[in-house]
Amino acid sequence: MSNFAKTFSSSLGKKLVMALTGIFLCTFLIVHLIGNLQLFKDDAGQAFNAYAYFMTHFTPIKVVSYLLYASIIIHALYALMITSANKKARPVAYAMQASNQNSAWTSRNMGILGTILFIFIVVHMGDFWWKYHNAELPYARYEISLDNPNDIQVSEVPYDANRLVHSEIVDPQAGKKIIISKDLYKVVQNAFQTWWYVLLYVIAMFALAFHLVHGFKSAFQTIGWNNNRYIPLVRFIGVWVFGLLIPIAFAAMPVYFFLFK
């Protein structure tokens, strides 16, 4: 076996793969969250649809998104590999084990939390990603006044296979900018009208919070980074940013649509 292959097939190497893919997925969450904040804009989804178009059609981002899909799959596969090896490492179970005396619940249940997240990602991508790419969605036509960008008229344009996903023209005579884009915003709006669907999202965000409270700091531990100066910062970010802020912000989206849209 080459040195490289040997490193990554060892127990430590497999953990390293988990850590690196995990951190990459964490950075993606930040990008995803910032983009999704467009949902809260009061513009009938114009900014959000423009963002969806940008994310799916700008080449560097497309490359990163394939890296992302690969990371999700590798993270899950390595988790399965490590878990099955770890199970084999203790063939006879203890009759009594007081694990809560020596370790945090989150740290012992990353597999369950990760499974919830994996199911969530499949459902979530099926509902938005897949529909955006493959379903015959109607378009939204925005007429935006050039004088007052807050003056937006929106109307629906039926699906047309020949139409571009996103197009923009400026009509100076009419004093208007006309944007026509595939209406993912409508899909989002419709999805979050069902209470159990909203609940599913909120539960998944709880799982995300618990997964990252352990996962974020754990990744730095696995990379071998324990400088006394920075580790408190890593722990702080792990708990407050990835364990609280980000999951709450994501969970706020379906709740907001359910209650107000």
């Binding site: 040195n3 490193t7 060892s10 127990s11 430590l12 190497g13 497999k14 953990k15 390293l16 490590i82 090896a85 770890n86 084999k88 490492a89 203790r90 063939p91 006879v92 179970a93 203890y94 009759a95 009594m96 084990q97 007081a98 694990s99 005396q101 020596n102 370790s103 945090a104 740290s107 012992r108 990353m110 352990h214 700091k217 754990s218 531990q221 696995t222 990379i223 071998g224 980074w225 324990n226």
Partner: protein
């Protein structure tokens, strides 16, 4: 005090084991846990029953021979204490105490509560040594060692190789032990010549012995009788990564 013990009995490695219940009566709270087991065994011998086998040697917390998973925790309920240093005052009259051996694929049961921990020896043999020139002894303190490094190295070297870390870990991972052994050398100038070779060989042996992979639960460090910190695992990860990238062989 009077206690009920549920003790794991297993005649040998290949036989099935099961729990037997024994009474331990008139136990003094000043007895150590192992002395309590000694008296139980004396009674068993009188009754013509095979005594319970368990490991021990120094009985003063330094050799690492005693083990025992007591009420779901390695070395029992106290922090930073080996089983031989656990006293019966940590229990109360009427308690039921469940006693199991360390359970790990890499620590097969030899008999009852005694497990084979030679997998640790083989990990040590794979790399936990340094090269020393023979001849006249060098001057003490000839090689400068920063105080912090010396302290950290010494703290890591207090690991007694008992295996409680493996026993506590839900993955039966030996990384706290291996981390301690790698740290104690990696921090000192004397450990540098074999630095890369050591960590690669020890991790390799650890994997071959069938220990699991760490998921950073921290159970090992919380249960370690010598309170070896989790940061030795961070160092192990770092040393391994460094060696993988820079090792010349």
């Amino acid at each position: 005090m009077n206690l009920t013990l549920k003790v794991w009995r297993q005649p040998d490695t290949n036989s099935e084991g099961n729990f037997e219940t024994y009474k331990a009566n008139d136990v003094s709270e000043d007895m150590s846990f192992l002395e309590m087991l000694d008296t139980v065994n004396e009674n068993l011998i009188e009754d013509g029953v095979e005594p319970v086998a368990f490991d021990h040697d120094c009985r003063e917390g330094i050799c690492g021979m005693c083990s025992l998973f007591i009420n779901g925790r390695p070395h029992g309920p106290l922090h930073g204490v080996t089983t031989c240093q656990l006293h019966m005052r940590s229990f109360k009259d009427g308690d039921e105490i469940v006693i199991e051996p360390w359970r790990a694929n890499a620590f097969p049961v030899i008999k009852d509560l005694v497990v084979d921990r030679t997998s640790f020896e083989r990990i040590q043999q794979a790399g936990a040594y340094i090269s020393v020139n023979t001849g006249a002894a060098g001057d003490a303190n000839q090689i400068p060692v920063p105080k912090n490094d010396a302290d950290e190295s010494f703290a890591a070297a207090t690991c007694i190789g008992c295996g409680a870390c493996v026993a506590a870990c839900k993955n039966s991972s030996a990384m706290l032990f291996v981390g301690a052994k790698v740290s104690q050398f990696a921090l000192l100038p004397q450990g540098q010549p074999e630095r890369e070779k050591r960590v690669l060989a020890m991790v390799n042996q650890m994997d071959e012995e069938g220990f699991g992979a760490c998921t950073n639960t921290g159970a090992c460090s919380a249960e370690c009788p010598k309170e070896i910190p989790l940061s030795v695992i961070t160092r192990l990860n770092r040393e391994y990564l460094r060696a993988s990238l820079t090792s010349k062989d």
